[in-house]
């Protein structure tokens, strides 16, 4: 029977009190653990979001969104200006166009028109008629008008490895190969659905812009819209579409996350109002704002739980020390040192918190995800806004619209995907939290123990 043994046994002297203390302390430890797990999950997600979006800035023509709006495309001079800005480490250019089957190409669109596509086509046609003869009433759905057709999107790029510039999260070649991006030859890669619809394989040719183009690869991007499109070298598309030197979007890469704001500012200064400049930081900030809020809440809740736990054990031990004042005096009178008595009480405190941590860890396992989901739910209600309307045109709205929609969906998914990771380290965290609580909570009672003099106990006899 040593001091540790006595400390452990003392924890069970009054089972009702022990049960109550363990229960209350377990709630505190459980809450601390839930907050720790939530904070960890949120921190991992923030890092993941930041690394996935990268150090990029998107430059797009002012007033243009996809194939809507108006204005001037970005010119060679603009790109030269961008290249000369300090801390710019890379530029990815893209140009978008649409091919109308039978008119511009012999390809048949793989996307079905559907009610959405038809409605948008009819709106476009009606708007076009209104602007050409505003004094004449033209019915929206004219039976003499030719049946609208789905167009096929074409994207030119100088870097096929940059999937962000193509508005997708991944792009895998199912057959053939990618082009490097700097070619000026009549080659293209086709999405799987467009290739299948037209019976094209690697080496096949098709006609677009009155030119024969060779298919060098078939890709799968994981989404129907992009798999129904064509990707070709940007110089090829510029030449074929008579848009030499023009691009519809530039992804500018900064040499580090720290310089993004400087590069963004320089771009805005040098390019003026002709372009819209949006940095990934803007997107990240918007995306991770709810996450940062959750992180802040969980951090303060974690501190609060630990403080509450420490106060619970502090008050408990203080009560026990006061109650056993005579016993402490007797122990000292028969030869116990201060260290021995303090160690005995700290062991008792550790036993109580250890028991509470076991219950708390089970509670942490059970409640971490529901609590995190509740935090996410309340956070998204106040912070996340959905994109206004579909905003697209038949068959979608090009890469910028895809990015905008993708960003909003990504933000929602970012929050919905949040899950706490429960592993062996959780048990370590729980026991560590219990140890910290026990030591902090016992420190002042230990001081009181050291001040109890056996002679005072004799006088109170």
């Amino acid at each position: 029977m040593g001091v540790i043994n006595r400390g452990i046994r003392n924890a069970f002297r009054n089972m009702t009190r022990t049960g109550s203390i363990v229960f209350i302390l377990a709630i505190s430890i459980s809450l601390a653990l839930v907050m720790l797990l939530s904070m960890k999950a949120v921190q991992l997600k923030i890092e993941s979001v930041k690394s996935s979006i990268g150090n990029t800035i998107t430059v797009s023509p002012a007033g243009v969104r996809g194939f809507e709006g108006g204005g001037e495309l970005i010119t060679e001079d603009n790109i030269a200006t961008i290249s000369n800005i300090a801390h710019v480490s890379g530029i990815v250019e893209t140009l978008s166009d649409r091919l109308t089957p039978e008119t511009d190409t012999d390809l048949e669109a793989s996307l079905e028109m559907g009610s959405f596509g038809k409605r948008m086509q009819e709106k476009d046609s009606a708007a076009s008629s209104d602007s050409s003869s505003s004094s004449v009433d033209v019915p929206v759905a004219d039976s003499t008008r030719p049946e609208p057709k789905m167009s096929i999107n074409v994207t030119g790029t100088n870097d096929t490895s940059n999937t962000n510039a193509l508005g997708v999260t991944s792009l895998s070649i199912t057959s053939g190969e990618l082009f490097s991006g700097n070619e000026d030859t009549n080659i293209a890669i086709l999405g799987t659905e467009l290739a299948t619809k037209n019976g094209l394989t690697v080496g096949s040719t098709f006609t677009a812009y009155d030119t024969t183009i060779t298919v060098i690869g078939i890709y799968d991007s994981g989404n129907t819209f992009t798999n129904s499109s064509i990707i070709m070298p940007i110089k090829t598309l510029q030449t074929l579409s008579d848009q030499a030197g023009l691009v519809s979007s530039v992804i500018v890469e900064s040499d580090s996350m720290d310089n993004i704001a400087t590069v963004q500012s320089d771009l805005e200064t040098n390019l003026g109002d002709a372009v819209d400049v949006v940095s990934s930081q803007d997107t990240v900030s918007e995306t991770i704002e709810p996450l940062e809020n959750i992180k802040t809440i969980t951090f303060y809740s974690l501190i609060g739980s630990l403080v509450a736990g420490s106060i619970i054990i502090f008050l408990t031990m203080l009560m026990i020390v006061r109650e056993r004042r005579r016993e402490i005096g007797a122990l000292k009178a028969i030869g116990a040192s201060n260290t021995t008595v303090i160690l005995q009480f700290i062991t008792e405190s550790l036993t109580l918190t250890f028991l509470a941590s076991i219950v708390g860890i089970i509670g942490g396992f059970a409640f971490s995800n529901p609590v995190l989901n509740a935090l996410v739910s309340s956070s998204t209600t106040s912070s996340v806004t959905q994109p206004g309307g579909s905003g697209g045109m038949p068959g979608g709205g090009g890469e910028l619209m895809a990015k905008a929609v993708g960003s909003a969906q990504g933000m929602q998914n970012t929050l919905n995907d949040l899950q706490t990771i429960i592993g062996f380290d959780v048990i370590i965290y729980g026991i560590l939290a219990a140890f910290v609580i026990a030591v902090i909570g016992s420190s002042i009672p230990a001081f009181f123990i050291s001040k109890i003099r056996p002679a005072e106990v004799m006088r109170s006899e």
Partner: protein, 222 residues
């Protein structure tokens, strides 16, 4: 063996200084049974606390086994209490969640006695004070007052102390049990050659000890 020289203990009470023990001197040879009598507040318990190194005198010397305990540092006093002194309290002060055997063993644990040797000695001591083996594993709450005081005496004897200090050892017991406890202490002082200093109100008991000191207002009056 025990020599007290001009010991004073003063306490501050507001602006006043109260002398609980006022210039006391006496000596007791080894194996004697000494009683200290006096009214409440006469300084009996304070003197006992000073002899047991539970408190420090304001001035004077307390020499036990040629060592002045008043000059010892805290660690030395802890060792002194664990090895040279045995305490017996009026309220027994046994640890409630330990068995009778463990209550005796705990004193030996503090003195550094190995566990196995401690168990054997604790059993013998309990037997010697009249606690039979069937009661060794009982907790204090399951023992009578007399039995608890016997366990406390066994605990006081655990480390073969030179000096046993007893504060009203029969104060909570009925007269018959009190007499039995007194007889036990008397017998031990003879058999173990242990010096016993007992504070008591009971003049009939005090009259049977080897020496009796009477305290009044902190002073020894005979």
């Amino acid at each position: 063996m025990l020599e007290v020289k001009n010991v004073k203990k003063e306490f501050k009470s507001g602006d006043n200084v109260v002398s609980a023990v006022n210039d006391i001197s006496f000596s007791v040879s080894q194996g004697k049974f000494v009683s200290i009598i006096g009214k409440s507040g006469s300084g009996k318990s304070t003197l006992l606390a000073l002899l047991g190194a539970l408190d420090r005198p304001t001035s004077g010397e307390i020499i036990v086994d040629k060592n002045d305990i008043a000059k010892m540092n805290e660690n030395q006093q802890v060792k002194y209490r664990s090895k040279k002194i045995g305490f017996i309290f009026q309220n027994y002060n046994l640890i409630p969640n330990l068995s009778a055997l463990e209550n005796v063993m705990i004193a030996m644990e503090f003195a550094g006695v190995p566990k196995k040797a401690g168990i054997e000695r604790a059993k013998k001591l309990l037997e010697s004070v009249g606690i039979t083996e069937d009661k060794h594993d009982r907790r204090p709450g399951k023992l009578s007052g007399g039995e608890q005081q016997r366990v406390a005496i066994a605990r006081a004897l655990a480390n073969e102390p030179k000096l046993i200090l007893a504060d009203e050892p029969t104060g909570n017991l009925d007269s018959q049990t009190g007499k039995m406890i007194f007889d036990l202490l008397h017998k031990l002082s003879r058999s173990e050659n242990t010096t016993i200093v007992a504070v008591t109100h009971d003049l009939s008991i005090a009259g049977k000890t080897d020496m009796t000191f009477k305290l009044k207002d902190g002073k020894l009056i005979n």
